[in-house]
Symmetry: C2
Subunit: 340 residues, 2 copies
DNA sequence: GGCTGGCACTCGCACGGACGGAGTGCCAGG
DNA sequence: CCTGGCACTCCGTCCGTGCGAGTGCCAGCC
């Protein structure tokens, strides 16, 4: 039906105008700025219907209309074409990310890049430990009975744990321990590492068994914890742009939620690398984020997702542009990490 | 002279009241809340002098007085006794920090703890690489010609670098390289590591010389960079407490300066572990921080400072309390890291 | 000489009413 | 089903007023 068609067109126009001007948009302004082919009065009728259906709302009687979360949702699902990145943006991505010296550096650059491209708060997750495999385990003696175990994953993460042994350990034992651990765990995904422990204990020479048990349980226990997943956050200064119009009360709860990494990590656990996931306002379970939107996607190579990245901003954001930026950055990061 | 004495007492009272109430303080309120032994009229005279000397100012005619940066400075230097921490606070420090599993964890807990104790933004620097010594170097082969070198310092930092070799490397060469590197650098401070390179090259067997050169120069070049020093920042949500009264325009420049870690790192380079350093408002070179105060101190064992930590907040802050908290936390962290 | 009470004065701020403008809903006509 | 016209609502702004807090100054007192 042609009417429905046009009504959606009106909604799209409202979203676009409101996002770019930050003012409630009225029927007259709409008719002027967009070629809808009808008069303001007709648009008003459409708006009345859209409001009844819950896609838009007016802050006060006789102000313009503003999209609701539901309106943004419809816009994202059906009305927005994926905006291709400009050449300059593409080049910026390469320039920014090439030349990183290690994983920490890659992710640090990524978060700055994303924050700059989208002018929002950027969030990047370290490659999930549970989905990473052991590349190498190193054991270094700190004191007579204290060992430092360093884990290097195939995703480039390096984690360390201090392990206190009940008894003193000599240099030979350290070397043997290193060999045993690497034989047992090399190439094994951390999620599966726990299953290897019984085997390892059985094959370990008796005099090392206690030590091996202590070390391997410490590793398995502390590394499989999802709390060990890490986030890099950047661009928080961008929260202050909308000058308190975007976030009703203060932006305090959002800053708190970001520092409370658990909240964001849980959201990140739902992403996959093939589709950009958008969560709008009230769609977020977490109360602090009900006035914010998240645009997230997984990064990684074709066959496995390493982690997630994305942005956090006001519901009034440029969804097509931000979705494109998030996806492009994720792809590039995925390639970058795959080849190391 | 008794007059000067009392005038300073008035200044102290003004600072204390203003910090706790966030309202410009008038002569009458001062006389009521403090036992100064004189009438409001006399206090007014003292205030006039203090204002002439530049220690206080009035936002508008006929509002109360507010301390200037200079006033806070005098307060911090001469009028504030170090406030001892409460038992609860001491216990909180221990409870918070004990049980950390590695350096990253220690510093993460520290920054949360500091933010919570002071209700300000907390900043903690990773132990400076240049002042750390090599505990162990590990070489892991990633591909035929690409090596991952992992550095473990005596301060618990673990750094990784990817090194591309011009030629393919076999397993034996990797093992030899590992041995050579550890022999040359073990126990050496990173600041001095560069000096060891010529020696190392001379003693290296000819067939390894190229590889050793590539790896050791990469390490020395990228690790001695002060840009490699890292910061952990937390409690940024506390910036929003004063509800824009504390920070004139927005707090945006402060958030930006914090993300621009370089700024804070430069400030951190000036700390030492024996004295708490306070920088008030305009005393900060960096423009973004002219409406903020920093309280910083070095942490480490008695004989060497590992890095710095501290807080950033509005000039209107509880200096004695925050100085005590920063110092106490730094001491505890120093002990904690010394024994690992 | 320094402290005190009194007094006039200055301002900032909160309150309240008037005004203008933007935007709407509705209706009759094309 | 669209359009132009019209009355209505309500927000934001401006202005004038009153009030209260706080000051500076002065004359008098110890």
């Amino acid at each position: 039906m042609a009417h429905d068609e046009r009504r959606l067109e009106v909604l799209r126009a409202i979203v676009q105008d409101f996002v770019s001007t930050n003012d409630p948009v009225g029927s007259k302004a709409l008719a002027e700025r967009h070629d809808l082919g009808v008069s303001p009065a007709t648009i008003r009728n459409d708006m009345a219907v859209l409001e009844e259906q819950g896609y838009i709302t007016q802050p006060h009687t006789s102000a313009g209309r503003v999209p609701t979360d539901k309106g943004y949702r419809l816009f994202v699902d059906r009305l927005s074409a994926v905006k291709p990145l400009s050449g300059a943006e593409r080049r910026a991505i390469e320039r920014f990310l090439d030349g990183a010296v290690d994983l920490h550096d890659v992710l640090g650059r990524t978060v700055r890049l994303l924050a700059q491209l989208t002018r929002q708060v950027a969030v990047v997750q370290y490659p999930t430990l549970s989905r990473s495999a052991v590349r190498h385990l190193e054991v270094v003696q700190v004191t007579a009975s204290r060992l430092l175990v360093v884990l290097i994953t195939d995703t480039g993460r390096v984690e360390q744990r201090v392990v206190d042994s009940a008894v003193e350990v000599d240099a030979g034992a350290v070397a043997d321990l290193r060999t045993l651990l690497n034989q047992a765990f090399a190439g094994v995904t951390l999620a599966d590492a726990g299953d290897k422990v019984p085997d390892l204990l059985e094959t370990a020479p008796p005099h090392l068994r206690g030590l091996v048990a202590t070390v391997s349980t410490t590793l398995v226990e502390t590394l499989v914890e999802p709390s060990e997943d890490r986030l890099v956050i950047g661009g928080t200064a961008n929260l202050t742009r909308g000058s308190a119009l975007d976030f009703p009360g203060t932006m305090r709860p959002i800053l708190e939620a970001l520092e409370e990494q658990v909240v964001v990590l849980r959201l990140m656990s739902e992403v996959d690398a093939s589709t950009v996931l958008v969560r709008i306002g009230e769609e977020n379970d977490h109360e602090a984020l009900t006035s914010a939107s998240l645009v997230t996607v997984g990064y990684g190579s074709a066959d496995r997702s390493l982690g997630g990245l994305g942005i956090v901003g006001p519901t009034r954001m440029d969804y097509p542009g931000n979705m494109a930026a998030v996806r492009a950055v994720a792809r590039y990061v995925g390639h970058l990490l795959a080849e190391s």
